[in-house]
């Protein structure tokens, strides 16, 4: 049986006692080794979920359980070892004078022994392809490189969950690719649950499952394929539909008997090829 790592049980949250409810009765589960994308319009509550997950905020109603432990004031120090987070702005995430100091910082705070620290610095920088930059000053790095170091710093504390909250949003396309390749390779190797909050549809397509937020409620919890097949509804809640899904729709309109809901170019081309060679 798959091991449950995160559970939201009927969670509601608002900022302040008078404020509007920002999350409304949200329930979901995330499993060991699973990759879940969270999408939704700006203000739909995605970052609030991330902050609840590592105890920066606490829900007024409902419960959050991480690796069997309810998140509360007493448990948060344990829980922050289990949940690592990387945010949008690459320039706001550095504390160390060199890349290696930065990776060491989180471990020092958690009392990791020196020898173990040295080993983890080498391992995690290698995991994000930044092993040659150990002694570089962070401000000399490109945006994509900074975000990779931020990911290494989080991995160094060996969390069970890694959350990327729009971590690629401020990067150019090559920086974005660097991050997604890094993340995909780590996910393949390690026992890590991955939560990516993003507007990038290609990132979403790579996830195992998607949670779609709309105005503080969970609108859908499905595979990327199922989500992208609901083109009109997605547009209504302010989201985009991938090019392949639009093209598949237009092909059906034009009388081409597409059989599947393709998730990428390759799948659509295979489908077209089958139709083509059948005739």
């Amino acid at each position: 049986m798959r091991k449950k790592i995160i559970e939201f049980r009927n969670v509601s949250f608002r900022y302040g006692d008078e404020g509007p409810w920002v999350l409304k009765n949200c329930s979901f589960e995330i499993y060991e080794n699973e990759w879940v994308a969270i999408i939704g319009h700006n203000g739909s509550g995605k970052s609030t979920i991330a902050k609840l997950l590592n105890g920066l905020l606490f829900p007024q109603e409902g419960e959050i359980i991480i690796d069997g432990e309810v998140v509360n004031e007493e448990s948060i120090w344990n829980i922050r070892k289990e949940v690592g987070m990387v945010f949008q702005n690459p320039d706001n995430q550095f504390v160390g004078a060199t890349v290696q100091d930065d990776v060491a910082f989180g471990m020092e705070n958690r009392g990791v022994p020196r020898e173990e620290m040295k080993k983890r610095i080498i391992d995690t920088l290698a995991a994000v392809g930044m092993q040659d930059y150990r002694l570089t000053e962070p401000h000399r790095l490109s945006g994509g490189q900074k975000q990779r170091v931020a990911i290494a710093s989080v991995l160094a504390i060996a969390p069970k969950v890694l959350i990327l909250d729009e971590a690629t949003a401020m990067l150019d396309p090559s920086g974005r690719q660097e991050i997604m390749q890094t993340v995909a390779s780590i996910q393949g190797r390690e026992k890590l649950s991955l939560i990516t909050i993003t507007h990038d549809l290609q990132e979403v397509a790579q996830a195992d499952r998607v949670i779609v937020m709309n105005s503080g409620e969970i609108w859908k919890e499905q595979t990327p394929r199922e989500v992208f097949s609901q083109k009109e509804a997605l547009r209504e809640i302010g989201l985009d539909v991938p090019f392949v899904a639009i093209l598949a729709g237009e092909l059906k309109q034009a009388g081409v008997a597409i059989s599947t809901e393709p998730l990428n170019h390759k799948e659509l081309l295979e489908d077209l090829w089958t139709l083509h060679s059948r005739t």
Partner: protein
């Protein structure tokens, strides 16, 4: 206003050990009323280029002309302020520059600075809030109480309120959600058409460049790497990939289609619907043989 760069070189911190050539012998022309996309990866010189358009940077070598204003080592406009009233620049994350107590005051700041009368400013505020899709009820609110998308619109309204002839946009939709991005880009396009603006868009989005621009300029290491219509530029996939740039997704798809089917559907800025029909023809073509 026509814009011309003639052999422009720009060096940061010249005559110091840190001297850095950000623009290198760059020449191009932008016709008045056109919509130009400037593309290039980080560090290619895009932001430095656009700083020349309102005199924030003066060429180290060569000459920039914006209408009748000329910028070079030898020659600077007597009235830089006048140039800045003609060229409106929306910088990246423009909402970081909001500072007034109310939205209305923030929008009024630019035109006041350029000596526009209070009555005229009132007219413009009303006109522009609706053009950028801000509700009038927000005018007396603090800009800092608004959502990110609304703050972005306030900052843009402040630039538009000066009524520039040339609008320069440095990644204007970064960080917005898909609907916010589309609304802002459609708004700029409508302004471009209705007011006959010359629009210069710095973007990483090949899709936006394809959709809105009539001319594309690709920068690499401070030099002009490619230039032409979106069709011309984006059909050269290999050349773009050599400088780590993508092509629009439709071009990528057409390429993969050719690889799989051995026949090609040329890229000519067709809609997805037109593409679907072309594919249908190819498949049907096979049926009838």
């Amino acid at each position: 206003m026509d814009i011309t760069f003639e052999n422009v070189t720009y060096i940061y911190q010249q005559n110091t050990p840190f001297a850095h050539k950000a623009i290198d012998d760059l020449s191009f022309q932008i016709k008045s009323g056109s919509y130009v996309a400037i593309i290039g990866h980080t560090g290619s010189g895009k932001s430095t280029l656009i700083q020349h358009l309102n005199g924030l940077a003066i060429p180290t070598e060569g000459k920039v002309s914006i209408g009748s204003y000329h910028l070079s080592k030898e020659e600077k406009p007597k009235d830089m302020k006048e140039l800045r009233s003609k060229v409106g620049v929306v910088f990246q994350y423009p909402e970081h520059q909001l500072f007034e107590e109310t939205v209305a005051k923030d929008i009024a700041f630019g035109p006041q600075n350029f000596g526009v009368s209070e009555a005229e400013i009132q007219n413009r505020i009303n006109e522009i809030t609706s053009a950028v899709g801000l509700d009038e009820s927000l005018l007396e609110r603090s800009p800092f109480d608004l959502s990110g998308g609304q703050m972005r619109r306030v900052a843009i309204a402040g630039v538009l309120a000066v009524k520039p002839d040339v609008l320069v946009l440095d990644e204007p939709t970064a960080g917005l959600d898909p609907r916010g991005q589309k609304e802002i880009m459609d708004m700029f396009y409508k302004l471009h058409q209705d007011q006959g603006l010359t629009t210069i868009l710095v973007t990483h989005s090949m899709e936006d460049a394809l959709k809105y621009a009539d001319h594309v300029l690709i920068l690499n290491k401070g030099t002009k790497y490619m230039e032409g219509s979106p069709e011309e530029v984006f059909s050269q996939k290999e050349a773009l990939q050599r400088v780590q740039l993508d092509v629009p997704e439709i071009v990528q798809f057409l390429d993969e289609f050719q690889e799989r089917f051995g026949t090609s559907i040329p890229f000519k800025k067709q809609s997805v619907k037109e593409l679907a029909e072309a594919i249908q023809q190819q498949i049907k073509g096979a049926e009838s043989t």
